[in-house]
Each structure stands twice: as structure tokens, then as C-alpha cells.
């Protein structure tokens, strides 16, 4: 028992040290958001602001249309998640469990876009959106994210890890492939679906380049892109930028906390398996 306690202490210690390291930039953002521009420029870095006022938050709220930005970001994230999780689950399942000619060839097609930097795609994708007449719309924000190569690959791995006796039993019961997929396989990869959702949301939320390139008016941008417009050519008002970033982080944290619950539920359901 003491052995176990010692082990637990070590675990907590490791996690604590890790958390401290992880939390630094966030902490700095929080503290900076209360500083004046002059304080933020001090050398050497001063961690603590002299006073705690919300003036930067007020200022940023006047500069940027947060309601619009928030709405656009939410719409973009929701639609990208719905499409990419659904399509990735279908394709991931097919790549993992269905045998058909040229399967590996098609799977390579999924992997190849991950092997080059994202800037390679931007110009062509822009031209597609432009030809469709969708520039400066929320739809334009969604388009490149309707399919997730990352998610397809991840879910393929998850489907590969599922024991195949379940599937065999279902085949003998006369289940169709669609039934096996939707009734048996999908529920078993819940954590995988959730993590594809988290990452789709995250990539969408982080992406600056795409929103700024397809959309032009500030009320059609996303939170991150809207914040990026505050970065001047030569100077950055860090306190305002950090205040804005923190407002923008809130939805992501809420989403993460919410989806984490799904993770925990996953533990409960996984008892059924195997």
C-alpha cells in the first residue's frame, strides 16, 4: 500500500511539473492582458501587472465585432466537424475493415496531402471558392475543412484495433455492412470520433491564413483571424491582443471540457467490449 502511495506521489509530481511548463504562455497571456502597453514592453520581463483593470478587454471589445466573430467561428467549427467526422468515419471504416481492389492506393491518396505544407493548397482552394462565387461568406470558411485526411487516417487506425469477432458474429446474424458500421463499429470508436472532432475544431479555430484570404470584411472573419488583423506591420499591442486571445480561447476550453466528458463516458462503455 505504501508502495502504491509512493507511486502515486511520483505520478502527481511528474504531472505537476509538466503542468507548470505547459501553462507558462497561457499564464503570461492572462497577466499581460491586464498590463498597459508600456508595462508589456519592459525589459527584463515583468510578470505582474501594476494594477488589475479590464481596460484592455473593454478596448478590444470596441475594436472587434466579437459577436460576429464568435458566430462565424462556431458555424465554421460545427459544419467542419459534422462533415469531416462523418466522412472520416465512413472512409476510415472502409480502409480498415472492407477489402476492395486498390484499397492501399486510395489510402495513399489520403496520406499524401499530409506530406506537404498547407501553403501549397491555398491558391487553388481560393480559386475554387472564387469561381463558386462564395468569397466573403461563412460557407467559404467551411470548404477546405469538409474532409479531414488526418481524421480518416486516425479513424482507420481505431477501426483496425477493434476485435473482429464482433463483426463476424454480425455477418452471421445477417447484418448489412451499413448496419455493422452504424450499429456496431461507430459506437465502439467513440473516443476516436471525439478526438477527430476536437482536432477538426482546433485546426479550424487556429487557422489564420484561410479566413483572411477568402474573406475580407472583419465581420466575416473568425476569432483568430479577426485578432490577427490587430498585428501591426512593425508593432503589436500585446496587452490588447492577449485580452482578445483569452476571450477567443474560452469557447475552445469549454468545448474541450465538454468533450472530455465523452472521454470519461468512454471508459464506462468500453466494459462492454472484448
Amino acid at each position: 500500500m505504501t508502495n502504491r502511495k509512493q507511486g502515486l506521489t511520483i505520478v502527481y509530481l511528474i504531472l505537476l511539473v509538466g503542468s507548470i511548463i505547459m501553462v507558462f504562455p497561457f499564464l503570461w497571456s492572462v497577466l499581460t492582458s491586464f498590463k498597459t502597453q508600456a508595462e508589456s514592453l519592459a525589459v527584463p520581463l515583468k510578470w505582474m501587472p501594476e494594477s488589475w483593470g479590464f481596460f484592455n478587454y473593454k478596448k478590444i471589445n470596441e475594436t472587434l465585432p466579437f459577436v460576429n466573430l464568435f458566430l462565424n467561428t462556431t458555424l465554421m467549427v460545427i459544419f467542419r466537424c459534422i462533415f469531416s467526422v462523418f466522412l472520416a468515419a465512413l472512409a476510415g471504416y472502409a480502409f480498415a475493415r472492407l477489402k476492395f481492389p486498390l484499397r492501399n492506393f486510395f489510402f495513399m491518396m489520403v496520406l499524401i496531402p499530409m506530406m506537404v505544407p498547407g501553403q501549397v493548397f491555398i491558391l487553388s482552394q481560393y480559386l475554387i471558392v472564387s469561381k463558386l462565387g462564395l468569397l466573403n461568406t461563412v460557407t467559404a470558411l467551411v470548404i477546405p475543412g469538409i474532409v479531414s485526411t488526418f481524421g480518416t487516417f486516425l479513424l482507420r487506425q481505431f477501426f483496425l484495433g477493434i476485435p473482429n469477432d464482433l463483426e463476424e458474429a454480425a455477418i452471421l446474424d445477417g447484418c448489412s455492412i451499413w448496419q455493422i458500421f452504424s450499429k456496431i463499429m461507430l459506437p465502439l470508436t467513440k473516443s476516436g470520433l471525439v478526438s477527430v472532432g476536437i482536432f477538426t475544431a482546433l485546426f479550424a479555430w487556429k487557422d489564420l491564413m484561410w479566413p483572411l484570404i477568402v474573406n475580407m470584411s472583419v465581420d466575416k472573419l473568425t476569432l483568430s483571424a479577426g485578432l490577427a488583423t490587430l498585428i501591426g506591420q512593425y508593432s503589436i499591442n500585446y496587452p490588447e491582443l492577449m485580452a482578445g486571445s483569452l476571450i477567443a480561447i474560452v469557447p475552445m476550453i469549454v468545448l474541450f471540457l465538454f468533450l472530455q466528458k465523452q472521454f470519461i463516458e468512454g471508459i464506462v462503455t468500453s466494459g462492454i467490449k472484448g
Binding site: V116, V120, V147, F153, I177, F263, G266
Partner: protein
């Protein structure tokens, strides 16, 4: 009669499987062709052309490739990129796995700790670069202060060409752990608990359970993590771009392949040569991915 029926059933089943297979991958493949593969075909085309500014491409055959194989800068950048991958991939995956396993146990407050580990992933990139520059600062930096506390002389983490890549690699590992941890936790979640329960009955300790159950069962996810991490680390760009300038004495020892691609394509308007660099990078990653695919049979445990 019966045999024929069964054969017919199986054959039917085979074609039905084909049909569903193509049906399921069709939307994904179509979207990928339009949104991702077509631009890459264009890059391939540009790599055989001289493309400057808005002028139409002029076919130059293999000129760009000839330039590439003689370009010492490209090979310098390739060396930096490989070194970066060697520094970040094994250590980064190791730390991610340990963290994921620890955060998947039934300890108190794991929700909070997971959120804390998730924070670097959502922190503003400007904040990340700035804070790390402060941590590394040769005069006031936190890192040198901590080292000084233990009597170790401070280093010039960013200014010294021999250390700069290591410093960038540390930031790379730091920002990678949050991502990989979430994926690995998801993988760990899907391990049937019954396996652990029967191991408990056999009296297996935590170490044996880790090697006999956790590692093989999470290996498909781990395979995903290692393939994507290798791809990502060979495309390192952001951290270098944000933390060092080309004027810095240590820049040449950190410059990566993607940096060169970025510079030629977006700053020098030499899209032809920029595309050649991208194709070169693609071939390297493709080869490495292929090797990983072949090697997976040795260590990844599938139920296929």
C-alpha cells in the same frame, strides 16, 4: 446445390463489400482530389517550369531539379530538418505516451491536468513565441536562472548556432505533447477493461500490464502518432519563423526545408523552384512513410 448457393452468397458478399468500400471512400477521395491533390499536381507541373510572379509558366525541363541537387543550401536545410526530427520525434512520442498513460489512470483531478496540458495547443502563437524567447534569453531568461541555481553556467540558447536547433526542438516537443496526448488517451480508452481485470487475477504488476496489454493494444494509435509526428517534424517551420530572423547568426543552423519552400514561393516569387523543393520534401516523406508502413508489421498489433 447447397455449395453453389454458398459460393453465390460469398461472391455476392464480396461485390457488396466492394460496392460499400467505394461508396464509403468516394466523398472523401473526391474532396481530396479537388481540394488537395489537384494543387499538388499543379506543383509538380510548376517544378518543371520557370514561374516568376504572375507570368505564365515557361517549360524548363529538369533545370530546377539540376539546381536542387547542386544547392548546398537545400542540403544544409535538409540536414537541419533531419536533426530536428531526430531530436523531437522519439522523445516527443515517449513523453506523450507517458503523459497519456498517467492521465488515463483513475487519479483525482485528471480533468484539470488534462486541460492544463491542452493549453499550449490553444495558446496564441504570438504568446508562445514570446514566452519561449523570454525563457531562453541569455541575460534575463528563466532557463539560465534555473541552471545558475544548480551552478551550471548559462547558455546562449538562441544566439549560439550549436544550440539554436536544440532550443527550437524543445519548443517543438512542448507543443507536440498536448496533441499526441489527446489522441493516445482516446486510443487507451478503447482498450477493453476485461483484459486488465484478467491480468489482475493473474497478479500482474503495473509494468507488466503496460508491456503486455497497454502497449500492444494502443499500438495502432501509436502508429498513427508516429507517422504524423514524423510528417510534422519534417515540415517544421512556424517555430523557426517566429523565434529567429535570417539576420541572426544561428539562423543558418536552423533553416528548414519548408522555410526554403516558403521563401522561394512567397518571398522571392520563384514558384517553380519553390515547387521543386516541395516535391523533393514530398518524396522524402513518402519514402519514410513507406518504410514505417513496412515496419509496422513488426510492432503494431491489429485485429484485422
Amino acid at each position: 446445390m447447397k455449395m453453389v448457393n454458398q459460393q453465390h452468397f460469398l461472391k455476392n458478399r464480396k461485390f457488396t463489400t466492394w460496392f460499400y468500400g467505394y461508396l464509403f471512400i468516394a466523398p472523401t477521395i473526391l474532396a481530396i482530389i479537388v481540394l488537395y491533390l489537384w494543387p499538388m499536381v499543379q506543383s509538380l507541373y510548376y517544378s518543371f517550369n520557370e514561374v516568376k510572379g504572375f507570368q505564365s509558366p515557361v517549360f524548363v525541363g529538369l533545370d530546377n531539379y539540376e539546381r536542387l541537387i547542386q544547392d548546398t543550401e537545400v542540403f544544409g536545410a535538409l540536414g537541419n530538418t533531419f536533426l530536428y526530427a531526430l531530436l523531437t520525434v522519439p522523445l516527443g512520442i515517449f513523453i506523450s505516451l507517458i503523459t497519456a498513460v498517467l492521465l488515463n489512470t483513475n487519479i483525482k483531478g485528471k480533468g484539470i491536468v488534462r486541460t492544463l496540458y491542452f493549453l499550449p495547443v490553444v495558446s496564441a502563437p504570438a504568446a508562445v513565441a514570446l514566452v519561449w524567447k523570454w525563457i531562453y534569453n541569455n541575460q534575463y531568461g528563466l532557463l539560465n536562472q534555473i541552471l545558475g541555481f544548480f551552478g551550471i553556467p548559462g547558455q546562449d540558447w538562441l544566439g549560439n548556432p550549436k544550440l539554436a536547433l536544440i532550443s527550437i526542438a524543445i519548443v517543438g516537443i512542448w507543443s507536440m505533447v498536448g496533441y499526441n496526448m489527446i489522441i493516445l488517451i482516446a486510443g487507451l480508452q478503447d482498450i477493453p477493461r476485461s483484459l486488465y481485470e484478467s491480468a489482475d487475477i493473474d497478479g500482474a504488476g503495473p509494468v507488466r500490464k503496460f508491456f503486455n496489454i497497454t502497449l500492444p493494444m494502443v499500438s495502432p494509435t501509436l502508429f498513427f502518432v508516429s507517422v504524423t509526428t514524423v510528417m510534422g517534424s519534417l515540415q517544421v517551420f512556424d517555430h523557426i519563423y517566429m523565434m529567429l530572423t535570417p539576420e541572426s547568426p544561428s539562423f543558418k543552423s536552423t533553416e528548414s526545408i519548408v522555410y526554403l519552400f516558403f521563401r522561394y514561393t512567397f518571398q522571392n516569387y520563384n514558384k517553380g523552384y519553390g515547387s521543386t523543393i516541395v516535391i523533393f520534401l514530398l518524396l522524402i516523406i513518402l519514402a519514410l512513410t513507406f518504410v514505417q508502413m513496412k515496419l509496422q508489421k513488426k510492432w503494431v498489433h491489429y485485429n484485422d
